[in-house]
Amino acid sequence: MIVTNKTLDKAVIRFCGDSGDGMQLTGTLFSTLSAVFGNEISTFPDYPAEMRAPQGSLSGVSGYQVHIGAQKIYTPGDQADVLIAMNPAALKTNVKNIKRDAVVVIDEDTFDQSGLEKAEFKTDNPFKELNIESAQILSVPISSLTKSSLADSGLDNKSILRCKNMFALGFVCWLFNKPLEQAEHLLGNKFGKKPTLLQANLKVMTDGYNYGHNIHASVSTYTVNPTKMEKGTYTDVKGNQATAWGLIAASEKSGLPLFLGSYPITPATDILHELAARKELGVKTVQAEDEIAGVCTAIGAAFGGNLAATSTSGPGIALKSEAIGLAVMAELPLVVIDVQRGGPSTGLPTKAEQTDLLQALYGRNGESPCVVIAASTPANCFDYAFQAAKIALEHMTPVILMTDAFLANGSSAWRIPDMKDYPAIVPPFVPEEMQGQWAPYLRNDKNFVRYWAVAGRKGFAHRIGGLEKDGRTGAISTDPENHQRMTDLRQKKVDAIAQVIPPLKVEGDPTADVLVVGWGGTYGHLYAAVEELNAAGRKTALAHFNYINPLPANTAEVLSKYKKIVVCELNNGQFAAYLRSKMPAGLDIRQFDKVQAQPFSVEEVREAVLAQF
């Protein structure tokens, strides 16, 4: 038979299997080797919520989607061109995520009576039952081929079967014409200390590749050519890693040691993991006894002159609220990272939403303004973590950095920056010559920032606290006029930050009548949808916000230019409501909301925006 080869601009590959099948590793390896090959990449891990669901069950399916491109790509892709399903449950739960003519690779050994029953199939023809007969099914006995591949390896049966994900990886490498050298190198790094396992995995992967090469399958292989990327050194980075490194960057640029107080919480915990491992860079981490202690240890560290941060998700923000208010009142620098997940309550811990926005903006007692900023890609979590720290330190305020589970666990190729290209961070330390005339709440009259005397500095002993204080001396004050003045000052201090953040920019077609508005982690999907609309002749503009409080100074000016504004967000309209409260009356602000704890698909955004024309 003839194996044809198609060249594609981009392709979406979805690896899925039982949570013990190693699909996250397989997906990561494939995305990394594609990136090394020169493709654009964007990934989306889809973990099961259960810690360890029964083997073969629907709730135990773990997936990893990789989008590779010969051109710029912005999302992990809506629907897969290729699905690898290691068992019937994986096929069943992922079938909604594939294109009609997708290539579906299954491990046929698992499609036996027992496997079909565990996946709750009613008939013995799962393809018909799922109505995917238009897909190209490649039925490969992955388990048994893995067993025969390693029959002489000396490994026990269980260890042998653990290698079957490498068979799938080898097979997909063949399908996409990816040479195995890079995969071998990556496996060498992964299993370098366990030579027996390394050899076994390499052999199975090679056999998977050769199997593809040798079978007489009437299937086409694909080529996704390398893209023209900016010159430089690249790595594959996840949002949580980038966030952690951005804080380290700010620590270096400010000269202040980095301190993280944190309590484990999905999907934020990897920030704690990464920073706990970075002791060579002087990072101190405290795994606190609870969320409140996480933020409180950070506040103590800020009082002691560190760059202090705490990382959490929505439920943790709720618990930290009172302490964030203390940082507002005491005017101490603090970075609070909210890796948003599905809510309310425990909600959907492993899934992404944007439902914490109003909590971040307003979820504290009293008039308690905080800076709120949001990252919009896994890689730019680095820059926004850096910015969060820079603003916190230079303006003596808590800054809440919003990311989400999609950014946190998703990865993209990242051109490694050189730290010399990043600006210095200059905290407003009280000048030595002010000794004697200084008081703790004396401010710079341009940006209303108080001068900072770090605890332990000679000659500047002072007291601060959560009680309202006199604006001049810092002594406790219950004077009504003073409280009004202090309330206004705290607000003015945050408002003044609008002068130092970049203006809002418009992408897509700025001359359009329709403006799509988004914020945070939805950027890729919104951008791709706007690009498709413009390509289809529907003039559409996009304004995506990274700075939320304060808004960029030109926000009203930009928004006023458009006849229709469609705010797209993964909540019930929180940013839309915020914009309406901040913008001049008369703007036509519409909403496209989704609360399914899943990212947008490009298609649904495109259709929703189209409906507004």
Binding site: I248, R278, G300, H462, R463
Partner: protein, 337 residues
């Protein structure tokens, strides 16, 4: 020891606003004196507090001070000490702040052995909110929030501290000024988390809660001041002592039943096993004297030093990674040319 400081150097200009007769005044004055004795510069110390009457204390110290939020002083102090191990850090807290809303942070600060000096002012009442029972109020205690008496057992701070593997526990009595200063100085000198339970009177809402041991005429008979290496002898006539009877402590009279001073227990505050410290710390009247002074004082590695050591160890092992640019070179990377 002569130092360059006087108690006056630790007094802030803030007007002390506790009620006249409140036991907190005595602790504040004692702390001023203890700091002068220790000779730590006022700007090299910080006092962290939560919320409550006692938590106003930082405003009355001419040092760094942070009056924070209810219950969280232990956590904030932990962060401060970890960030800046060279500071002398005091935490001032009350029975409600420390043992109710802040109970979790307290036991974890003790467990971690952060080098904090915690003064727990125990007046067995919520004073700032005007008279509700606290976690240390005795069972049956009548207050505004327990008009028919409480139906719950109180905490004994010593049990929490030692149960959380605390390495330093001491107790002082507000009116016992001389011994109190010695106790605070010992707490500050101890490397590690020091818990000092200060038995203080609330003249307004719980007057006389410690009267049994406060009044001068029977204080010596109803308390025992413990000093490491000294015999456990007490009483107006210095004729009473403590001995072990099986696993139990017992009070004996020297000179009776052939008991001599040699038979009396000698206090070993440094003993790693805390069994006897537990027994001493939980003694109550009328059968036993209440123990004052340093009951347990055992050296152990402190949290902030361990954190600092671990950072230094890793830095020594990875000398090639000194900054983020160096770290990036250790990643799995590829070049686009």
């Amino acid at each position: 020891m002569e130092t360059n400081y006087t108690p006056q150097d630790y007094k802030s200009s803030g007007k002390v606003k506790w009620c006249p007769g409140c036991g907190d005044h005595a602790v504040l004055n004692t702390l001023h004196k203890a700091m002068a004795e220790l000779g730590v510069a006022p700007d090299q110390m910080a006092v962290i507090s939560g919320i409550g009457c006692s938590s106003r204390l930082p405003y009355y110290m001419n040092s760094y001070g942070f009056h924070t939020i209810h219950g969280r002083a232990s956590a904030i102090a932990t962060g401060l000490k970890t960030a800046n191990p060279d500071l002398t850090v005091w935490q001032v807290t009350g029975d409600g702040d420390c043992l109710a809303i802040g109970g979790n942070h307290f036991i974890h600060a003790v467990r971690r052995n952060v080098d904090l000096n915690i003064i727990l002012m125990n007046n067995r009442i919520y004073g700032l909110t005007k008279g509700q029972y606290s976690p240390t109020s005795p069972k049956g205690f009548i207050s505004k929030s327990s008009p028919y008496g409480t139906v719950e057992e109180p905490f004994r701070p010593a049990e929490l501290c030692l149960g959380a593997r605390g390495q330093f526990f001491a107790r002082l009595l507000d009116v016992d000024l001389k011994n109190s200063q010695e106790t605070l100085v010992a707490a500050a000198r101890h490397k590690g988390c020091s818990v000092v339970e200060a038995l203080v009177n609330c003249v307004i809402f719980n007057d006389g809660t410690h009267r049994d041991i406060q009044e001068k005429e029977f204080r010596a008979d109803r308390t025992i001041y413990l000093r490491h290496g000294e015999k456990m002898i007490f009483g107006n006539n210095r004729d009473k002592g403590l001995m072990l009877d099986g696993f139990q402590l017992k009070v004996v009279t020297i000179g009776q039943d052939g008991i001599t001073e040699d038979d009396i227990l000698t206090h070993d505050a440094h003993c790693i096993d805390n069994t006897l410290h537990f027994k001493l710390a939980t003694m109550t009247g009328p059968d036993f004297p209440v123990a004052l002074g340093v009951i347990r004082d055992v050296e152990a590695p402190t949290y902030e030093e361990e954190v600092r050591r671990q950072v230094a160890d890793v830095q020594a092992k990875r000398p090639q990674v000194k900054c983020l640019n160096d770290f990036f070179k250790t990643l799995e990377t590829w070049e686009i040319k």
